[in-house]
């Protein structure tokens, strides 16, 4: 008996019960596809978060007002001011800081020729914001320091805002009304892509004094300060410099009583990545269970097959089939089931990975494909071995008498 012949017998055996074989394969197919696809979804979501955070800029640090995450003992919170930002911009005190952009933010309704759109994020800031937040202009240009100094009513808008207000037409040079104030659009930002929580492309960025004039008022306080460190590696020293300078600005002596928070995108990235890893492992475990269930399905169906074909086994033994041949025949059948099922599962998963699943573009991990397929085949061998050995060890006389 050569392997080719064993395989042909196995095909014959499976073809004899097409529906049964098909359903058994379906179990493995679903298992393998689930493992690959769910891992891909997990991976895709963490990839999306990573990309989004990277899009914000990995050297960016955000200084926001507040007593931190409970560890601070500050009793009075002094709001951040433009003066604080100016102090941070002093390169002699803070050599690791490249750019500083104070921000005020609000939400306003924009109108252009009767088309109305609510912009979720209207930001008033300095030109340094664009580099620090990794926002690049696709059409037109950034506003300048001169625009800031003169409080000109100019704005750079995000791609979502542009599409909603202008459709496909170019927004450059057009005048939009934002909360009753006319703004001339000077630039449109390149699309950053959504993280799923808030669309970063639905934004209007204008000079800080202009926004303060029009919406937030000159109270002197600002929402947050965006700081760009010289390099991604310098974020830690930049954080220390910011803390030192702002403690001086706010007359705070104890580092445990600060009334501001410095958060970096990298710390956010680490947290998110570890969360996503847990998420991915969980998804993978659920999928692995379904693969296991598929394997048990193989055992079950092979046991039925062995019982059903006891007589045939008896005949084969009577005409001289050695134990090994019977064993390999049934093992070949179960392995073939898992092989074909696994192969179709991989195909299904690869096709499925082309579609967005709950807003996440799955990113297939190549190892998961080989892994899931390999495990499926191993499952076929492992779960098929019990029924196969039972078939092989049948006594010919009893097998022949079986009705």
């Amino acid at each position: 008996m050569n392997p080719f012949q064993t395989l042909r017998f196995a095909f014959g055996g499976l073809a004899a019960n097409k529906v049964r074989s098909g359903l058994t394969m379906l179990g493995i197919l679903i298992g393998v596809a689930a493992v690959i696809l769910l891992l891909a979804v997990g991976n895709g979501s963490s990839q999306a978060v990573k990309d989004a955070i990277q899009a914000l800029g990995t050297n960016a640090l955000t200084v926001s007002s507040g007593s931190g995450s409970g560890s601070s003992t500050a009793t009075v919170v002094k709001p951040l001011t433009v003066d604080d930002a100016r102090a941070l911009a002093d390169t002699s005190q803070a050599p690791d800081i490249k750019g500083v952009a104070p921000e005020v933010s609000t939400s306003q309704t924009a109108i252009y020729q009767g088309t109305s759109h609510t912009v979720s994020s209207v930001v008033g800031t300095y030109p340094a914001y664009f580099e620090a937040s990794n926002s690049k202009v696709d059409k037109g240009d950034y506003f300048s320091d001169d625009d800031v100094l003169n409080s000109r009513k100019v704005a750079v808008i995000g791609s979502t805002t542009a599409t909603d207000l202008f459709g496909t037409a170019s927004p450059i040079g057009k005048v939009i009304t934002l909360g009753g104030t006319p703004f001339t659009v000077v630039g449109e930002l390149a699309t950053k892509g959504g993280t799923g929580f808030q669309d970063p492309d639905d934004t209007v960025i204008a000079p800080l004094p202009t926004v303060q004039n029009a919406f937030t008022g000159f109270s002197g306080s600002i929402s947050q300060i965006l700081v760009e460190a010289t390099t991604a590696d310098a974020t830690t020293s930049a954080t220390n410099e910011i803390t030192t300078i702002l403690m001086g600005q706010h007359s705070i002596t104890s580092p445990s009583a600060v009334d501001f928070r410095v958060s970096s995108q990298t710390s956010l990235l680490t947290t998110r990545t570890s969360t996503d890893q847990t998420f991915t492992v969980l998804l993978g475990a659920v999928a692995a269970i379904s693969l296991l269930v598929g394997g048990i399905g193989i055992t079950n169906i092979m046991l039925v097959t062995v019982t059903e074909r006891t007589r045939e086994i008896g005949i084969r033994k009577a005409i001289g089939a050695p134990k090994g041949v019977i064993l390999s025949q049934f093992l070949a059948e179960s392995t073939l089931l898992s092989l074909v099922g696994g192969g179709l599962g991989v195909a299904a998963a690869l096709i499925g990975a082309h579609f967005k699943i709950v807003g996440i573009k799955p990113v297939v991990i190549p190892e998961s494909v080989y892994g899931a397929f390999g495990i499926a085949v191993a499952i076929g061998l492992f779960f098929g071995s019990y029924p196969a050995s039972r078939a092989a060890s049948l006594r010919p006389i009893e097998a022949l008498r079986h009705e």
């Binding site: 008996m1 045939e312 089939a321 050695p322 010919p396």
Partner: protein, 292 residues
Amino acid sequence: MRLRSRPQQPPPTAAPVPRGPVPILAVRKLVKTYGHGDAAVHALAGPVDADGVEQGVDLTVHQGDFVAIMGSSGSGKSTLMNILGCLDAPTSGRYLLDGIDVGHLDEHQLSLVRNRKIGFIFQSFNLVPRTTALAQVELPLAYAGVKAAERRRRAMAALTLVGLADRADHRPNELSGGQQQRVAVARALVTSPAMLLADEPTGNLDSRSTDDVLAIVDRLNAAGRTIVLITHEDEVARHAKRVVRLVDGQIYEDIRQAPLQGLPPALQDPVEFASHTLHVGHVRAHANGGDR
């Protein structure tokens, strides 16, 4: 009854035949008991001596013989058949098949013996389902490791011998009972085994198919093949050169109907043989048909 009253049959001679070469089959003091103690069933016991010890069954079959083992159900003939076919192991006693002591073989060697030395023909045909006649006949050769081309050639030759060359690609469900049994005969003889072992080969066949199958068996024996056939029908048994009758687990009588050397009874004088057919119904029609 009519079988033994026929005058043209040679007078019964006692077995075993005292001859030179190694017998194909030699059974010595064979005992088979199922169960234990009071519930024990003595399927094969042989004569019991004065002390109540079972002496077991002795049987010797020589090359070229055609033996019919007869007996009613419960006489132990199926048990004997299973042991002779190496499908079951005796409780005690020795069994030499073509000079090999089968009792000392392990599972794998037994499968080799079944493959090389024995050709099985079963009452219920026992063909492998969903397999063409050709593949069916090739199967024992495949287990023996014969190359594909050689396998095909030999399988076709065997199918031709049983007159089914034109049905080579038919599956069991596309064949009549008689044709299925002829495929089984082809499968049994394709490995050129030392002995053909037939268990009620005509038990499930009509009289026409019975004649077809028995005619093939007769020809095979005439060609020198050793045949052991188990039956309870006198019509089948009268084809044999020798009839062994089992009663209650022991050999009751052992009658030689034709000499070991030479043709089986049915081929010695076909017309005369056919005229004594025990088939009810188409006796004359068949006898006339056989004349031509």
